[in-house]
Protein backbone atom coordinates (compact mmCIF):
# COMPACT_ATOMS: atom_id res chain seq x y z
CA UNK A 1 0.00 0.00 0.00
CA UNK A 2 1.37 3.36 -1.01
CA UNK A 3 1.35 6.22 1.42
CA UNK A 4 2.37 9.72 0.36
CA UNK A 5 5.55 11.01 1.90
CA UNK A 6 6.91 7.60 2.87
CA UNK A 7 10.44 6.74 1.86
CA UNK A 8 10.80 5.03 -1.52
CA UNK A 9 14.26 3.64 -0.76
CA UNK A 10 12.76 0.44 0.58
CA UNK A 11 10.66 0.04 -2.59
CA UNK A 12 13.71 0.28 -4.84
CA UNK A 13 15.63 -2.14 -2.67
CA UNK A 14 12.66 -4.51 -2.66
CA UNK A 15 12.29 -4.46 -6.46
CA UNK A 16 15.98 -5.25 -6.96
CA UNK A 17 16.10 -7.89 -4.25
CA UNK A 18 13.03 -9.78 -5.51
CA UNK A 19 14.48 -9.56 -9.03
CA UNK A 20 17.67 -11.25 -7.82
CA UNK A 21 15.70 -13.98 -6.05
CA UNK A 22 13.66 -14.61 -9.20
CA UNK A 23 16.81 -14.80 -11.28
CA UNK A 24 18.23 -17.37 -8.87
CA UNK A 25 15.09 -19.48 -9.29
CA UNK A 26 15.25 -19.25 -13.09
CA UNK A 27 19.00 -19.60 -13.49
CA UNK A 28 19.16 -23.43 -13.33
CA UNK A 29 16.79 -23.58 -16.31
CA UNK A 30 18.75 -21.04 -18.35
CA UNK A 31 21.96 -22.89 -17.55
CA UNK A 32 20.52 -26.28 -18.56
CA UNK A 33 19.09 -24.92 -21.80
CA UNK A 34 22.47 -23.37 -22.58
CA UNK A 35 24.35 -26.61 -21.87
CA UNK A 36 21.96 -28.57 -24.07
CA UNK A 37 22.43 -26.16 -26.99
CA UNK A 38 26.17 -25.56 -26.67
CA UNK A 39 28.91 -27.09 -28.75
CA UNK A 40 30.18 -30.25 -26.97
CA UNK A 41 33.73 -28.88 -26.81
CA UNK A 42 32.56 -25.76 -25.01
CA UNK A 43 30.67 -27.87 -22.47
CA UNK A 44 33.70 -30.08 -21.78
CA UNK A 45 35.98 -27.08 -21.44
CA UNK A 46 33.55 -25.46 -19.04
CA UNK A 47 32.87 -22.36 -21.09
CA UNK A 48 29.11 -22.37 -20.63
CA UNK A 49 27.94 -20.24 -17.73
CA UNK A 50 24.91 -18.30 -18.90
CA UNK A 51 24.37 -18.38 -22.67
CA UNK A 52 25.00 -21.20 -25.18
CA UNK A 53 28.49 -21.25 -26.67
CA UNK A 54 28.78 -22.62 -30.22
CA UNK A 55 25.16 -23.38 -31.03
CA UNK A 56 24.22 -26.99 -31.97
CA UNK A 57 21.29 -29.38 -31.74
CA UNK A 58 23.43 -32.55 -31.68
CA UNK A 59 22.50 -33.46 -28.09
CA UNK A 60 18.80 -33.19 -28.92
CA UNK A 61 19.28 -35.40 -31.98
CA UNK A 62 20.84 -38.05 -29.78
CA UNK A 63 17.96 -37.92 -27.29
CA UNK A 64 15.21 -37.86 -29.89
CA UNK A 65 16.63 -41.01 -31.46
CA UNK A 66 16.14 -42.91 -28.22
CA UNK A 67 12.96 -45.04 -28.37
CA UNK A 68 13.01 -45.47 -24.58
CA UNK A 69 12.14 -41.84 -23.96
CA UNK A 70 9.18 -41.89 -26.33
CA UNK A 71 7.90 -45.10 -24.79
CA UNK A 72 8.19 -43.53 -21.35
CA UNK A 73 6.42 -40.41 -22.57
CA UNK A 74 3.58 -42.56 -23.83
CA UNK A 75 3.38 -44.54 -20.58
CA UNK A 76 3.28 -41.35 -18.52
CA UNK A 77 0.50 -39.99 -20.72
CA UNK A 78 -1.58 -43.15 -20.35
CA UNK A 79 -1.09 -43.33 -16.56
CA UNK A 80 -1.90 -39.65 -16.17
CA UNK A 81 -5.04 -39.61 -18.28
CA UNK A 82 -6.62 -42.82 -16.98
CA UNK A 83 -5.46 -42.13 -13.43
CA UNK A 84 -6.88 -38.62 -13.41
CA UNK A 85 -10.29 -39.78 -14.63
CA UNK A 86 -10.55 -42.59 -12.07
CA UNK A 87 -9.16 -40.61 -9.14
CA UNK A 88 -11.26 -37.52 -9.83
CA UNK A 89 -14.49 -39.48 -10.08
CA UNK A 90 -13.67 -41.38 -6.89
CA UNK A 91 -12.81 -38.13 -5.10
CA UNK A 92 -16.10 -36.45 -6.03
CA UNK A 93 -18.15 -39.53 -5.14
CA UNK A 94 -16.49 -39.85 -1.74
CA UNK A 95 -16.57 -36.17 -0.85
CA UNK A 96 -20.19 -35.44 -1.67
CA UNK A 97 -21.95 -37.63 0.94
CA UNK A 98 -19.66 -36.17 3.62
CA UNK A 99 -20.95 -32.70 2.75
CA UNK A 100 -24.56 -33.69 3.43
CA UNK A 101 -25.74 -33.14 7.01
CA UNK A 102 -28.31 -35.92 6.72
CA UNK A 103 -25.74 -38.57 5.79
CA UNK A 104 -25.78 -41.06 8.69
CA UNK A 105 -22.36 -41.67 10.21
CA UNK A 106 -20.91 -38.58 8.55
CA UNK A 107 -18.77 -37.62 11.56
CA UNK A 108 -17.51 -41.14 12.03
CA UNK A 109 -16.55 -41.49 8.35
CA UNK A 110 -14.87 -38.08 8.36
CA UNK A 111 -12.82 -39.15 11.36
CA UNK A 112 -11.96 -42.46 9.68
CA UNK A 113 -10.60 -40.54 6.70
CA UNK A 114 -8.77 -37.76 8.54
CA UNK A 115 -7.11 -40.25 10.87
CA UNK A 116 -5.19 -41.61 7.89
CA UNK A 117 -3.41 -38.25 7.74
CA UNK A 118 -2.06 -38.79 11.24
CA UNK A 119 -1.13 -42.45 11.27
CA UNK A 120 -0.30 -45.10 8.70
CA UNK A 121 0.77 -48.71 8.64
CA UNK A 122 4.00 -47.79 6.91
CA UNK A 123 5.54 -48.63 3.59
CA UNK A 124 6.03 -52.39 3.90
CA UNK A 125 2.47 -53.43 4.84
CA UNK A 126 1.16 -51.03 2.17
CA UNK A 127 3.38 -52.72 -0.39
CA UNK A 128 2.21 -56.18 0.73
CA UNK A 129 -1.44 -55.16 0.27
CA UNK A 130 -0.79 -53.87 -3.25
CA UNK A 131 1.10 -57.05 -4.07
CA UNK A 132 -1.66 -59.27 -2.63
CA UNK A 133 -4.18 -57.50 -4.85
CA UNK A 134 -2.08 -58.43 -7.88
CA UNK A 135 -1.57 -54.82 -8.89
CA UNK A 136 2.23 -55.00 -9.17
CA UNK A 137 3.59 -54.17 -12.58
CA UNK A 138 0.20 -53.24 -14.03
CA UNK A 139 -1.30 -49.96 -15.15
CA UNK A 140 -3.55 -50.05 -12.05
CA UNK A 141 -0.54 -49.85 -9.75
CA UNK A 142 -0.19 -46.27 -10.99
CA UNK A 143 -3.90 -45.52 -10.58
CA UNK A 144 -5.43 -47.24 -7.56
CA UNK A 145 -2.87 -47.00 -4.71
CA UNK A 146 -2.82 -43.40 -3.57
CA UNK A 147 -6.04 -42.70 -5.47
CA UNK A 148 -7.66 -40.81 -2.61
CA UNK A 149 -6.11 -38.40 -0.17
CA UNK A 150 -7.81 -37.25 3.00
CA UNK A 151 -6.67 -33.71 2.33
CA UNK A 152 -8.37 -33.49 -1.08
CA UNK A 153 -11.57 -35.00 0.29
CA UNK A 154 -11.75 -32.35 3.00
CA UNK A 155 -11.13 -29.56 0.50
CA UNK A 156 -13.81 -30.82 -1.91
CA UNK A 157 -16.29 -31.50 0.89
CA UNK A 158 -15.79 -27.99 2.22
CA UNK A 159 -16.29 -26.60 -1.27
CA UNK A 160 -19.61 -28.48 -1.63
CA UNK A 161 -20.75 -27.28 1.78
CA UNK A 162 -19.98 -23.66 1.13
CA UNK A 163 -21.01 -23.33 -2.52
CA UNK A 164 -24.09 -25.48 -2.90
CA UNK A 165 -26.94 -24.09 -0.92
CA UNK A 166 -28.96 -26.71 1.01
CA UNK A 167 -32.23 -25.21 -0.25
CA UNK A 168 -31.19 -26.13 -3.78
CA UNK A 169 -30.85 -29.78 -2.79
CA UNK A 170 -34.12 -29.65 -0.84
CA UNK A 171 -36.08 -28.26 -3.75
CA UNK A 172 -34.63 -30.96 -6.03
CA UNK A 173 -35.72 -33.59 -3.51
CA UNK A 174 -39.23 -32.13 -3.46
CA UNK A 175 -39.24 -32.38 -7.24
CA UNK A 176 -38.51 -36.09 -6.80
CA UNK A 177 -34.82 -36.26 -7.66
CA UNK A 178 -32.78 -38.91 -5.89
CA UNK A 179 -29.27 -38.31 -4.55
CA UNK A 180 -27.58 -39.66 -7.67
CA UNK A 181 -29.55 -37.30 -9.89
CA UNK A 182 -28.83 -34.40 -7.55
CA UNK A 183 -25.11 -35.18 -7.68
CA UNK A 184 -24.88 -35.45 -11.44
CA UNK A 185 -27.39 -32.79 -12.49
CA UNK A 186 -27.02 -30.14 -9.80
CA UNK A 187 -23.81 -30.55 -7.81
CA UNK A 188 -21.36 -31.36 -10.62
CA UNK A 189 -22.42 -28.48 -12.92
CA UNK A 190 -22.05 -26.04 -10.02
CA UNK A 191 -18.62 -27.39 -9.07
CA UNK A 192 -16.60 -26.84 -12.24
CA UNK A 193 -14.00 -24.63 -10.47
CA UNK A 194 -13.10 -27.30 -7.91
CA UNK A 195 -13.29 -30.06 -10.54
CA UNK A 196 -10.79 -28.17 -12.73
CA UNK A 197 -8.44 -27.52 -9.83
CA UNK A 198 -8.59 -31.07 -8.51
CA UNK A 199 -8.07 -32.72 -11.88
CA UNK A 200 -4.98 -30.58 -12.42
CA UNK A 201 -3.62 -31.43 -8.98
CA UNK A 202 -4.25 -35.11 -9.58
CA UNK A 203 -2.80 -35.07 -13.09
CA UNK A 204 0.40 -33.32 -12.10
CA UNK A 205 0.69 -35.69 -9.14
CA UNK A 206 0.64 -38.76 -11.37
CA UNK A 207 2.83 -37.24 -14.07
CA UNK A 208 5.50 -36.36 -11.51
CA UNK A 209 5.16 -39.48 -9.36
CA UNK A 210 8.53 -41.12 -8.89
CA UNK A 211 8.12 -43.32 -5.83
CA UNK A 212 5.02 -45.27 -6.93
CA UNK A 213 6.57 -46.62 -10.15
CA UNK A 214 9.82 -47.20 -8.28
CA UNK A 215 8.21 -49.64 -5.87
CA UNK A 216 5.34 -51.05 -7.94
CA UNK A 217 6.71 -51.35 -11.49
CA UNK A 218 9.59 -53.59 -12.49
CA UNK A 219 9.10 -53.97 -16.22
CA UNK A 220 11.29 -51.67 -18.31
CA UNK A 221 8.58 -51.22 -20.97
CA UNK A 222 6.09 -49.99 -18.36
CA UNK A 223 8.29 -47.30 -16.81
CA UNK A 224 6.99 -43.73 -16.88
CA UNK A 225 9.16 -40.75 -17.70
CA UNK A 226 10.27 -40.17 -14.10
CA UNK A 227 12.03 -43.55 -13.87
CA UNK A 228 13.69 -43.24 -17.29
CA UNK A 229 14.81 -39.75 -16.31
CA UNK A 230 16.50 -41.10 -13.22
CA UNK A 231 18.48 -43.53 -15.36
CA UNK A 232 19.57 -40.85 -17.80
CA UNK A 233 19.95 -37.61 -15.91
CA UNK A 234 20.94 -38.83 -12.47
CA UNK A 235 22.59 -42.22 -12.84
CA UNK A 236 23.97 -41.55 -16.33
CA UNK A 237 23.28 -45.17 -17.17
CA UNK A 238 21.20 -46.48 -20.02
CA UNK A 239 21.50 -46.98 -23.72
CA UNK A 240 21.58 -43.25 -24.42
CA UNK A 241 25.20 -43.19 -23.29
CA UNK A 242 26.42 -46.19 -25.24
CA UNK A 243 28.57 -45.10 -28.14
CA UNK A 244 28.28 -41.50 -27.12
CA UNK A 245 31.87 -40.78 -28.07
CA UNK A 246 31.46 -42.24 -31.53
CA UNK A 247 28.29 -40.38 -32.32
CA UNK A 248 28.73 -38.20 -35.41
CA UNK A 249 31.92 -36.33 -36.04
CA UNK A 250 32.03 -34.70 -32.63
CA UNK A 251 31.82 -36.52 -29.29
CA UNK A 252 28.88 -35.41 -27.17
CA UNK A 253 29.61 -35.19 -23.45
CA UNK A 254 27.19 -36.94 -21.13
CA UNK A 255 26.23 -33.60 -19.63
CA UNK A 256 24.86 -32.30 -22.95
CA UNK A 257 22.69 -35.40 -23.39
CA UNK A 258 21.47 -35.11 -19.81
CA UNK A 259 20.64 -31.45 -20.27
CA UNK A 260 18.78 -32.09 -23.53
CA UNK A 261 16.83 -34.93 -21.88
CA UNK A 262 15.88 -32.66 -19.00
CA UNK A 263 14.63 -29.97 -21.34
CA UNK A 264 12.68 -32.43 -23.49
CA UNK A 265 11.03 -33.91 -20.41
CA UNK A 266 10.08 -30.45 -19.15
CA UNK A 267 8.34 -29.41 -22.38
CA UNK A 268 4.83 -30.70 -21.50
CA UNK A 269 4.89 -28.95 -18.13
CA UNK A 270 6.28 -25.78 -19.73
CA UNK A 271 3.54 -25.74 -22.34
CA UNK A 272 0.76 -26.47 -19.87
CA UNK A 273 2.06 -24.17 -17.14
CA UNK A 274 0.78 -20.78 -18.38
CA UNK A 275 -2.72 -22.21 -18.72
CA UNK A 276 -2.89 -24.15 -15.49
CA UNK A 277 -0.98 -22.04 -12.98
CA UNK A 278 -3.85 -19.69 -12.22
CA UNK A 279 -6.08 -22.66 -11.44
CA UNK A 280 -3.45 -23.90 -9.05
CA UNK A 281 -3.28 -20.55 -7.32
CA UNK A 282 -7.06 -20.67 -7.04
CA UNK A 283 -6.85 -24.21 -5.67
CA UNK A 284 -4.37 -23.26 -2.99
CA UNK A 285 -6.59 -20.35 -2.04
CA UNK A 286 -9.57 -22.69 -1.59
CA UNK A 287 -7.47 -25.07 0.49
CA UNK A 288 -5.77 -22.36 2.52
CA UNK A 289 -8.78 -20.27 3.38
CA UNK A 290 -11.37 -22.91 3.97
CA UNK A 291 -9.32 -26.02 4.76
Amino acid sequence: MRVKGESRIFDYFNIVFLGIITFMVVYPFIYTVSISLSHPDSVTKGEVILFPVGFTFSAYKKVIESPRIWKAYWNSTVYTSIGTLVRLFLLLLTSYPLSRPNFPGRNFFTFLITFTMLFSGGLVPYFLVVRALGLLNTLWAMVIPGALSAWNIIVVRTFFQSTIHPSLIESAQIDGANDLQILFRIVFPLSTPIIAVMSLFIAIGIWNDYFTPLIFLTDDTKFPLTIILRDIVVMATGKEFVGLREFGAIPIPAQSVQAATLIISMIPVLIAYPFIQRYFIKGIMIGAIKG
Binding site: M1, P28, Y31, P125, N208, L225, Y273
Partner: protein, 309 residues
Protein backbone atom coordinates in the same frame (compact mmCIF):
# COMPACT_ATOMS: atom_id res chain seq x y z
CA UNK B 1 -32.67 -48.02 18.03
CA UNK B 2 -33.23 -51.41 16.49
CA UNK B 3 -31.99 -52.67 13.18
CA UNK B 4 -35.32 -52.34 11.42
CA UNK B 5 -35.69 -48.72 12.44
CA UNK B 6 -32.14 -47.97 11.35
CA UNK B 7 -32.67 -49.67 8.00
CA UNK B 8 -36.00 -47.97 7.24
CA UNK B 9 -35.35 -44.48 8.55
CA UNK B 10 -31.62 -44.00 8.27
CA UNK B 11 -30.16 -46.28 5.61
CA UNK B 12 -32.85 -46.70 2.97
CA UNK B 13 -33.66 -42.99 2.41
CA UNK B 14 -29.92 -42.33 2.03
CA UNK B 15 -29.09 -45.48 0.06
CA UNK B 16 -27.64 -43.56 -2.88
CA UNK B 17 -25.37 -41.55 -0.60
CA UNK B 18 -24.07 -44.82 0.86
CA UNK B 19 -23.64 -46.20 -2.63
CA UNK B 20 -21.53 -43.18 -3.63
CA UNK B 21 -19.47 -43.41 -0.49
CA UNK B 22 -18.85 -47.15 -0.70
CA UNK B 23 -15.89 -47.16 -3.17
CA UNK B 24 -14.08 -44.48 -1.18
CA UNK B 25 -14.74 -46.30 2.07
CA UNK B 26 -13.39 -49.52 0.58
CA UNK B 27 -10.33 -47.63 -0.63
CA UNK B 28 -9.49 -46.34 2.85
CA UNK B 29 -10.13 -49.73 4.43
CA UNK B 30 -7.98 -51.60 1.92
CA UNK B 31 -5.10 -49.15 1.48
CA UNK B 32 -4.98 -47.50 4.91
CA UNK B 33 -6.59 -49.70 7.55
CA UNK B 34 -5.57 -53.15 6.30
CA UNK B 35 -1.90 -52.01 6.23
CA UNK B 36 -2.36 -50.79 9.82
CA UNK B 37 -3.37 -54.36 10.66
CA UNK B 38 -0.30 -55.53 8.75
CA UNK B 39 1.78 -53.87 11.47
CA UNK B 40 1.68 -57.23 13.30
CA UNK B 41 4.47 -58.47 11.05
CA UNK B 42 6.73 -56.05 12.93
CA UNK B 43 6.36 -58.47 15.85
CA UNK B 44 6.84 -61.60 13.74
CA UNK B 45 9.55 -63.11 11.58
CA UNK B 46 7.68 -62.68 8.34
CA UNK B 47 8.27 -65.33 5.74
CA UNK B 48 6.47 -65.15 2.39
CA UNK B 49 6.02 -68.93 2.37
CA UNK B 50 4.30 -69.08 5.74
CA UNK B 51 2.21 -65.95 5.21
CA UNK B 52 1.46 -63.27 7.77
CA UNK B 53 -0.65 -65.34 10.14
CA UNK B 54 1.55 -68.45 10.32
CA UNK B 55 4.89 -66.64 10.60
CA UNK B 56 6.32 -67.07 14.11
CA UNK B 57 5.94 -64.37 16.75
CA UNK B 58 9.22 -62.83 17.88
CA UNK B 59 8.02 -60.02 20.13
CA UNK B 60 10.19 -56.92 20.08
CA UNK B 61 13.17 -58.60 18.39
CA UNK B 62 13.17 -56.31 15.34
CA UNK B 63 12.88 -53.17 17.45
CA UNK B 64 15.74 -54.44 19.59
CA UNK B 65 17.81 -55.26 16.50
CA UNK B 66 17.19 -51.84 15.08
CA UNK B 67 17.86 -49.76 18.18
CA UNK B 68 20.97 -51.72 19.11
CA UNK B 69 22.42 -51.39 15.61
CA UNK B 70 25.00 -48.67 14.92
CA UNK B 71 22.89 -47.13 12.16
CA UNK B 72 19.76 -46.49 14.27
CA UNK B 73 21.19 -43.34 15.84
CA UNK B 74 22.58 -42.20 12.49
CA UNK B 75 19.17 -42.57 10.80
CA UNK B 76 17.29 -40.77 13.58
CA UNK B 77 19.90 -38.00 13.70
CA UNK B 78 19.89 -37.50 9.92
CA UNK B 79 16.11 -37.43 9.75
CA UNK B 80 15.81 -34.97 12.62
CA UNK B 81 18.59 -32.73 11.32
CA UNK B 82 17.15 -32.55 7.79
CA UNK B 83 13.80 -31.57 9.33
CA UNK B 84 15.23 -29.09 11.81
CA UNK B 85 17.44 -27.42 9.21
CA UNK B 86 14.47 -27.48 6.85
CA UNK B 87 12.41 -25.66 9.49
CA UNK B 88 15.11 -23.16 10.44
CA UNK B 89 15.98 -22.24 6.86
CA UNK B 90 13.03 -23.39 4.81
CA UNK B 91 10.19 -22.15 6.97
CA UNK B 92 10.95 -18.41 7.30
CA UNK B 93 12.19 -17.90 3.73
CA UNK B 94 8.78 -18.14 1.99
CA UNK B 95 7.17 -16.00 4.73
CA UNK B 96 9.73 -13.23 4.20
CA UNK B 97 9.39 -13.66 0.45
CA UNK B 98 5.59 -13.33 0.66
CA UNK B 99 5.85 -10.27 2.90
CA UNK B 100 8.24 -8.59 0.45
CA UNK B 101 5.98 -9.49 -2.48
CA UNK B 102 3.06 -8.02 -0.59
CA UNK B 103 4.92 -4.70 -0.28
CA UNK B 104 5.39 -4.38 -4.06
CA UNK B 105 3.39 -1.57 -5.62
CA UNK B 106 3.38 -2.93 -9.17
CA UNK B 107 0.79 -5.68 -9.60
CA UNK B 108 2.37 -6.74 -12.88
CA UNK B 109 5.86 -7.18 -11.43
CA UNK B 110 4.36 -9.07 -8.50
CA UNK B 111 2.52 -11.39 -10.86
CA UNK B 112 5.61 -12.04 -12.99
CA UNK B 113 7.70 -12.92 -9.92
CA UNK B 114 4.97 -15.11 -8.48
CA UNK B 115 4.41 -17.02 -11.72
CA UNK B 116 8.13 -17.53 -12.28
CA UNK B 117 9.03 -18.69 -8.78
CA UNK B 118 6.02 -20.98 -8.67
CA UNK B 119 7.19 -22.99 -11.67
CA UNK B 120 9.76 -25.34 -10.04
CA UNK B 121 6.97 -26.70 -7.84
CA UNK B 122 5.54 -28.42 -10.92
CA UNK B 123 8.67 -30.36 -11.75
CA UNK B 124 9.19 -33.97 -10.78
CA UNK B 125 11.95 -34.90 -8.36
CA UNK B 126 14.04 -36.67 -11.04
CA UNK B 127 14.11 -33.39 -12.98
CA UNK B 128 15.17 -31.50 -9.86
CA UNK B 129 17.84 -34.13 -9.19
CA UNK B 130 18.95 -33.88 -12.82
CA UNK B 131 19.33 -30.11 -12.52
CA UNK B 132 21.37 -30.59 -9.34
CA UNK B 133 23.63 -33.11 -11.08
CA UNK B 134 24.13 -30.64 -13.95
CA UNK B 135 24.94 -27.83 -11.58
CA UNK B 136 27.37 -29.71 -9.41
CA UNK B 137 29.12 -31.82 -12.02
CA UNK B 138 32.81 -31.91 -11.07
CA UNK B 139 34.05 -31.62 -14.67
CA UNK B 140 31.75 -29.08 -16.28
CA UNK B 141 29.13 -28.00 -13.74
CA UNK B 142 28.85 -24.27 -13.25
CA UNK B 143 29.65 -24.30 -9.53
CA UNK B 144 32.94 -26.10 -10.10
CA UNK B 145 33.77 -23.87 -13.06
CA UNK B 146 33.41 -20.86 -10.77
CA UNK B 147 35.43 -22.55 -8.03
CA UNK B 148 38.23 -23.42 -10.42
CA UNK B 149 38.36 -20.48 -12.72
CA UNK B 150 37.49 -17.56 -10.48
CA UNK B 151 38.55 -18.76 -7.08
CA UNK B 152 41.44 -20.98 -8.13
CA UNK B 153 40.22 -23.94 -6.06
CA UNK B 154 40.25 -27.66 -6.82
CA UNK B 155 36.95 -29.06 -8.16
CA UNK B 156 34.71 -30.51 -5.45
CA UNK B 157 32.83 -33.82 -5.90
CA UNK B 158 29.77 -32.48 -4.11
CA UNK B 159 27.54 -35.53 -4.49
CA UNK B 160 29.96 -38.03 -2.94
CA UNK B 161 30.95 -35.83 0.02
CA UNK B 162 28.67 -36.34 3.06
CA UNK B 163 29.35 -32.84 4.41
CA UNK B 164 27.55 -31.20 1.48
CA UNK B 165 24.45 -33.37 1.35
CA UNK B 166 22.29 -31.50 3.87
CA UNK B 167 23.01 -28.16 2.27
CA UNK B 168 22.17 -29.49 -1.17
CA UNK B 169 18.95 -31.08 0.07
CA UNK B 170 17.72 -28.02 1.98
CA UNK B 171 18.65 -25.57 -0.78
CA UNK B 172 16.94 -27.60 -3.50
CA UNK B 173 13.78 -27.91 -1.46
CA UNK B 174 13.66 -24.18 -0.76
CA UNK B 175 14.24 -23.57 -4.47
CA UNK B 176 11.45 -25.95 -5.47
CA UNK B 177 8.83 -24.84 -2.93
CA UNK B 178 9.51 -21.12 -2.50
CA UNK B 179 6.83 -19.87 -4.88
CA UNK B 180 4.27 -22.44 -3.78
CA UNK B 181 4.63 -21.71 -0.07
CA UNK B 182 4.60 -17.98 -0.72
CA UNK B 183 1.23 -18.32 -2.46
CA UNK B 184 -0.25 -19.97 0.62
CA UNK B 185 0.83 -17.00 2.72
CA UNK B 186 -0.30 -14.49 0.10
CA UNK B 187 -3.70 -16.20 0.06
CA UNK B 188 -3.88 -15.79 3.81
CA UNK B 189 -2.93 -12.12 3.41
CA UNK B 190 -5.89 -11.44 1.12
CA UNK B 191 -8.24 -12.30 3.98
CA UNK B 192 -6.88 -9.41 6.09
CA UNK B 193 -9.41 -6.58 6.23
CA UNK B 194 -7.98 -3.63 4.19
CA UNK B 195 -9.67 -1.12 6.48
CA UNK B 196 -7.22 -2.17 9.19
CA UNK B 197 -4.40 -0.74 7.06
CA UNK B 198 -6.35 2.42 6.32
CA UNK B 199 -7.05 2.98 9.99
CA UNK B 200 -3.39 2.32 10.83
CA UNK B 201 -2.22 4.83 8.24
CA UNK B 202 -4.56 7.48 9.64
CA UNK B 203 -3.20 6.73 13.09
CA UNK B 204 0.28 7.38 11.72
CA UNK B 205 1.64 3.81 11.70
CA UNK B 206 4.68 3.50 9.46
CA UNK B 207 5.33 0.68 7.04
CA UNK B 208 7.21 -1.52 9.46
CA UNK B 209 4.56 -1.02 12.15
CA UNK B 210 1.83 -2.04 9.71
CA UNK B 211 3.71 -5.25 8.88
CA UNK B 212 4.45 -5.92 12.51
CA UNK B 213 0.98 -5.24 13.93
CA UNK B 214 -1.39 -6.14 11.08
CA UNK B 215 0.21 -8.37 8.46
CA UNK B 216 2.14 -10.72 10.74
CA UNK B 217 -0.75 -11.29 13.19
CA UNK B 218 -2.92 -11.96 10.13
CA UNK B 219 -0.49 -14.68 9.05
CA UNK B 220 -0.14 -16.30 12.47
CA UNK B 221 -2.99 -18.85 12.10
CA UNK B 222 -1.60 -20.09 8.77
CA UNK B 223 1.94 -20.23 10.16
CA UNK B 224 0.70 -22.14 13.22
CA UNK B 225 -1.20 -24.73 11.17
CA UNK B 226 1.76 -25.31 8.85
CA UNK B 227 4.12 -25.63 11.82
CA UNK B 228 1.90 -28.20 13.55
CA UNK B 229 1.64 -30.19 10.32
CA UNK B 230 5.41 -30.13 9.82
CA UNK B 231 5.89 -31.36 13.40
CA UNK B 232 3.82 -34.41 12.51
CA UNK B 233 6.38 -35.20 9.86
CA UNK B 234 9.40 -34.70 12.13
CA UNK B 235 10.55 -38.29 11.57
CA UNK B 236 9.65 -38.43 7.91
CA UNK B 237 11.33 -36.37 5.24
CA UNK B 238 10.56 -36.36 1.55
CA UNK B 239 12.70 -39.29 0.47
CA UNK B 240 12.33 -39.04 -3.31
CA UNK B 241 15.17 -36.56 -3.69
CA UNK B 242 17.35 -38.48 -1.24
CA UNK B 243 16.80 -41.76 -3.09
CA UNK B 244 17.83 -40.01 -6.30
CA UNK B 245 20.94 -38.32 -4.96
CA UNK B 246 22.42 -40.41 -2.18
CA UNK B 247 24.94 -43.23 -2.44
CA UNK B 248 26.87 -45.38 0.06
CA UNK B 249 29.51 -42.65 0.29
CA UNK B 250 27.00 -40.12 1.59
CA UNK B 251 24.90 -42.43 3.81
CA UNK B 252 26.61 -40.83 6.80
CA UNK B 253 24.46 -37.71 6.40
CA UNK B 254 21.93 -38.67 3.73
CA UNK B 255 20.47 -41.96 4.93
CA UNK B 256 17.19 -41.33 6.76
CA UNK B 257 14.55 -43.58 8.32
CA UNK B 258 12.39 -43.48 5.18
CA UNK B 259 15.20 -44.46 2.82
CA UNK B 260 16.31 -47.18 5.21
CA UNK B 261 12.81 -48.67 5.34
CA UNK B 262 12.71 -48.66 1.55
CA UNK B 263 16.22 -50.04 1.08
CA UNK B 264 16.22 -52.73 3.75
CA UNK B 265 12.50 -53.44 3.98
CA UNK B 266 11.54 -53.55 0.30
CA UNK B 267 14.30 -53.17 -2.22
CA UNK B 268 16.86 -55.34 -0.46
CA UNK B 269 19.70 -53.33 -1.95
CA UNK B 270 22.17 -54.45 0.71
CA UNK B 271 21.09 -57.99 1.54
CA UNK B 272 17.73 -59.73 1.19
CA UNK B 273 14.75 -57.49 2.04
CA UNK B 274 13.71 -57.84 5.66
CA UNK B 275 10.02 -57.00 5.64
CA UNK B 276 9.54 -57.39 9.37
CA UNK B 277 12.43 -55.05 10.19
CA UNK B 278 11.14 -52.53 7.65
CA UNK B 279 7.67 -52.67 9.20
CA UNK B 280 9.06 -52.25 12.71
CA UNK B 281 11.11 -49.19 11.75
CA UNK B 282 8.16 -47.76 9.81
CA UNK B 283 5.93 -48.28 12.87
CA UNK B 284 8.43 -46.43 15.06
CA UNK B 285 8.31 -43.56 12.58
CA UNK B 286 4.49 -43.49 12.44
CA UNK B 287 4.08 -43.60 16.22
CA UNK B 288 6.57 -40.78 16.80
CA UNK B 289 4.77 -38.75 14.11
CA UNK B 290 1.39 -39.31 15.78
CA UNK B 291 2.71 -38.43 19.23
CA UNK B 292 4.52 -35.26 18.12
CA UNK B 293 1.52 -33.97 16.20
CA UNK B 294 -0.77 -34.50 19.21
CA UNK B 295 1.72 -32.77 21.54
CA UNK B 296 2.30 -29.79 19.23
CA UNK B 297 -1.40 -29.45 18.62
CA UNK B 298 -2.08 -29.32 22.36
CA UNK B 299 0.69 -26.78 22.88
CA UNK B 300 -0.64 -24.69 20.00
CA UNK B 301 -4.14 -24.80 21.47
CA UNK B 302 -2.83 -23.58 24.82
CA UNK B 303 -0.67 -20.71 23.61
CA UNK B 304 -2.71 -19.55 20.62
CA UNK B 305 -6.23 -19.83 19.31
CA UNK B 306 -5.26 -21.93 16.29
CA UNK B 307 -5.03 -25.69 16.25
CA UNK B 308 -5.87 -28.58 13.97
CA UNK B 309 -8.61 -29.90 16.25
Amino acid sequence: MDVKYWWNKRFWPNRYLFLMFLPGLLYFIIFCYVPMGGIIIAFKDYSPWLGILRSPWVGLKHFHDFFSSPYAWRLIRNTLLLNIYGLIFGFPVPIIFALLLNELNSELYKKVIQTTTYFPFFLSMPIVAGLIVQFLSPSSGVINIILQRWLGKEPIYFLVKPEYFRGIYITSNIWKNLGYSAIIYLAALTSIDPTLYEAAIIDGANRWQRVRFITLPGLTPTITILLILSMGYILSVGIDLILLLYNPMTYETADVIGTFVYRRGLAGIDGAPNLSLGTAVGLFQSVVGLVTIIITNNIARKISETSLW
